[in-house]
């Protein structure tokens, strides 16, 4: 298990847990990111910028700080 910001571009990962309070879990939940969901990392922003991920067929940009709190496991 690792955090989302360590997954390589164009790799898939399954969300295991989201560390943090209701604020972040709720906000991510609205964007369709819950434990169990599968994400694809599309793009890392320059200079520790945000990460572009694809989930349920649409794209979401997440700041690195947020991505670090999303614990995932790699999926082949």
């Amino acid at each position: 298990m690792t955090s989302l910001d360590r997954i390589e571009e164009n790799r898939k990962a399954r969300v295991v847990d989201i560390q943090g309070g209701w604020g972040i879990r709720g906000r991510l939940g609205q964007m369709g990111i819950h434990p169990g969901d599968i994400l694809t990392v599309r793009r890392y922003g320059a200079l520790r910028g945000p990460i572009l991920i694809e989930v349920h067929g649409f794209q979401v940009a997440l700041g690195r700080g947020i991505a670090r709190r999303i614990l995932v496991e790699g999926v082949e």
Binding site: G26, M31, G45, P50, L52, Q59, V60, G63
Partner: protein, 639 residues
């Protein structure tokens, strides 16, 4: 009958609304365009209706201010009917909002929009099945092409006449038991002023909704009975009560999705993904960004300059003709010349730049490029204590400061809203850009204009850094949906630009003409002189001719007035014959930065309060004086 259009950001509500309203609501391919609701009167099969386009919201749980606006309307706005607009290609996620809307027990219709997009993704939705499950009509539609809308409103009318309500979706048994106890308590003693459905209030209290918790603050008895119920949920599920309920809604909507939709083929490889891999690229992304905005401003300057020059010459001839006709000292000459200059200001100076700017901005918005800009700029915005989403008010600020200030509602945190609202007023709006082009670029050369734009960005960045020291960043970081690119529905784009241009024509232009006539009268009566004398300490400090004083006062009404009034005040369109190059630059820099126009101050007042608006006025004035003074002292070296 009051109809509310409700849906998640970017689901096509405003496009649908535009069809009803004849293109009056703003749409853009960016989450959170409708930050204030728009309403229109319309007739549906002989019934008078008020149709409201509410800001997009992901849920009815407390969120940013735009979302709270939607919630407030639904709870207290006496809505008779909800049209829940849903992006069919995102059905699973969208149903979470639908479930919450059903809890409101208001007659409702579901508009299954963007069915073409769903097909492309290989999602096949059984509308009848979904309708059976939810207990409300489900109408497939393509709002961008106007398809299915007639059927939608026919169904809506029927639902309203029958006062039909959807099926309340049931949670797991143990949660339902807790809800049951809660409703029992509420029925015995109704604790809040609002008339909302009992089950809805029960859920909101269990969810620790801040608004309703505050309402029951005095009711210690109810609170002490609420807490054990929340504890019971937490103990059984191992997470806080609010999360128990939201996970339950998530599970329910996934369940509904699986029953009503099938994935018939994997999504077709999308050219848009390929485009995005370039547009968001670490290096090429920024190159493209630079090229887009370079092209954008060149386009505006090219079009504007080509039209402005001959038109100004034409109006100059007309003005000479008036002088010959009425005699140089006559009242009639002053009046007609003032009127003519007001007209000329609109046609020759403002519109040539405003029209290409607004059309270009609408195109960028509708294609969906702006959220990519937010993605690319996030890392830089962090340097000034903000995050990527804040770039949107800034970009809108190049059009007009009022929507820019209003767009700060898409930001979740009050301190961000405060900083961005103040900084956005520093961004030169279309009117001020016009001044920069017409004075700096036209008289001093393109580099002078470029210098002002760069200086402006530096000032914004430094101010942001300073403000962020006082208002430290408490945010989680960027969480932003990046919607798929769309081929802009060209009619929609043009009509949106027209709507914005019309605002200038019907509101600003008459003021401009009136102001121009007024100034001519003041000049005729010699009042101008006393205003100029009052302002002479300022103009003296900046080394400007005393006669420009009045133009600065007019600039408070509308920025473009400063420019038009300048030629009026100086008595010639050949500015360089009476002002030095340095003076022109000082004037342009001062006007670019000083106090925002009245409409913007009003918007600031509403969004960040009286103190904030006052601070913005002082702050911008101080910045303008310091910069203009610096140009006065050092400008001579470069000009």
């Amino acid at each position: 009958m009051r109809i509310a259009l409700v849906g998640q950001p970017n689901c096509g509500k405003s496009t649908l609304f535009n069809h009803v309203a004849g293109y009056r609501a703003m749409t853009a391919n960016f989450p959170g365009t409708t930050v204030e609701y728009t309403e229109t009167q319309t007739r549906i099969q002989g019934h008078d209706c008020t149709c409201m386009d509410l800001p997009g919201t992901y849920s009815l749980v407390s969120g940013d201010r735009a979302e709270m606006e939607t919630r407030r309307h639904l709870l207290f706005g006496e809505v008779d009917l909800i049209i829940n607009v849903v992006d069919a290609s995102l059905l699973g996620r969208s149903l979470e909002l639908t479930l919450q809307l059903l809890e409101l027990e208001i007659p409702m219709v579901l508009c299954l929009n963007m069915t073409d997009e769903a097909q492309r993704k290989g999602i096949q939705i059984d509308a009848r099945k979904l309708s059976d499950l939810l207990g409300i009509p489900v109408v497939p539609a393509m709002a961008s092409m106007g398809k299915g809308l007639q059927e939608l409103f026919r169904q809506a009318l029927q639902v309203w006449q029958e006062k039909a309500r959807g099926k309340t979706q049931r949670f797991s048994k143990d949660i339902e038991e807790v809800i049951g106890r809660m409703t029992f308590l509420l029925e015995a003693d109704w604790p809040v002023r609002e008339k909302v459905p009992t089950r809805f209030l029960a859920l909101k209290l269990l969810e620790r909704d801040p608004f309703f918790l505050q309402e029951i603050e005095e009711k210690k008895n109810l609170q002490s009975r609420l807490r054990p119920l929340q504890d019971r949920l937490e103990e059984a599920h191992g997470v806080p009560a609010e999360e128990v309920i939201s996970s339950e809604r998530h599970a329910l909507s996934m369940n509904l999705f699986e029953k009503a939709a099938r994935i018939i083929h994997p999504p077709k490889t999308d050219w848009r993904i390929l485009v995005d891999s370039w547009v968001t690229h670490r290096v090429f992304g920024y190159l493209i960004l630079g090229l887009v905005f370079y092209g954008f401003f060149n386009f505006i300057f090219g079009v504007g300059g080509a039209i402005e020059e001959p038109l100004l010459r034409f109006f100059g001839h007309l003005s000479e003709g008036l002088k010959d006709l009425f005699g140089p000292g006559s009242l009639l000459f002053f009046l007609t010349r003032g009127f003519l200059q007001g007209i000329a200001g609109g046609v020759a100076i403002v519109l040539p730049y405003l029209v290409p700017f607004l059309v270009g901005l609408s195109l960028l918005e509708d294609v969906g490029y702006l959220p990519r800009v937010a993605f690319l700029m996030d890392v830089f915005m962090h340097q000034i204590g903000l995050h990527g989403k804040s770039i949107i008010p800034f970009i809108l600020g190049y059009g007009c400061s009022v929507p820019a200030v209003m767009a700060t509602r898409i930001l979740e945190f009050p301190q961000h809203r405060f900083i961005v609202a103040i900084l956005a007023t520093l961004i030169p709006c279309a009117a001020r850009i016009t001044i920069i082009f017409a004075l700096a670029a036209f008289l001093l050369g393109p580099n002078a204009a470029l210098f002002i734009f760069v200086l402006n960005l530096v000032v914004v960045a430094v101010s942001g850094k300073i403000l962020s020291l006082f208002y430290p960043d408490a945010s989680l970081g960027l969480i932003l949906e990046i919607p798929a690119y769309q081929v802009p529905p060209l009619g929609n784009t043009l009509k949106k630009s027209w709507y914005r241009i019309r605002e200038f024509i019907v509101i600003a232009w008459p003021i401009l003409i009136g102001g121009s006539v007024l100034l001519a009268l003041m000049e005729y009566g010699g009042v101008e002189g006393s205003i100029n004398r009052v302002l002479s300490p300022l103009t003296g400090l900046l080394g400007l001719p005393e006669s420009v004083g009045t133009t600065l006062i007019f600039g408070l009404l509308r920025k473009e007035l400063s420019l038009i009034m300048l030629t009026q005040a100086l008595g010639t369109t050949e500015v360089l014959t009476v002002m030095t190059r340095t003076q022109v630059m000082v004037f342009t820099v001062f006007v670019t930065f000083y106090i925002p126009c009245l409409a913007t101050i009003a918007a600031l007042w509403r969004e960040i309060g009286k103190k904030g608006a006052f601070l913005a006025v002082l702050f911008t004035l101080a910045v303008a004086i310091v910069l203009a003074l610096a140009v006065r002292l050092f400008g001579g070296i470069f000009l």
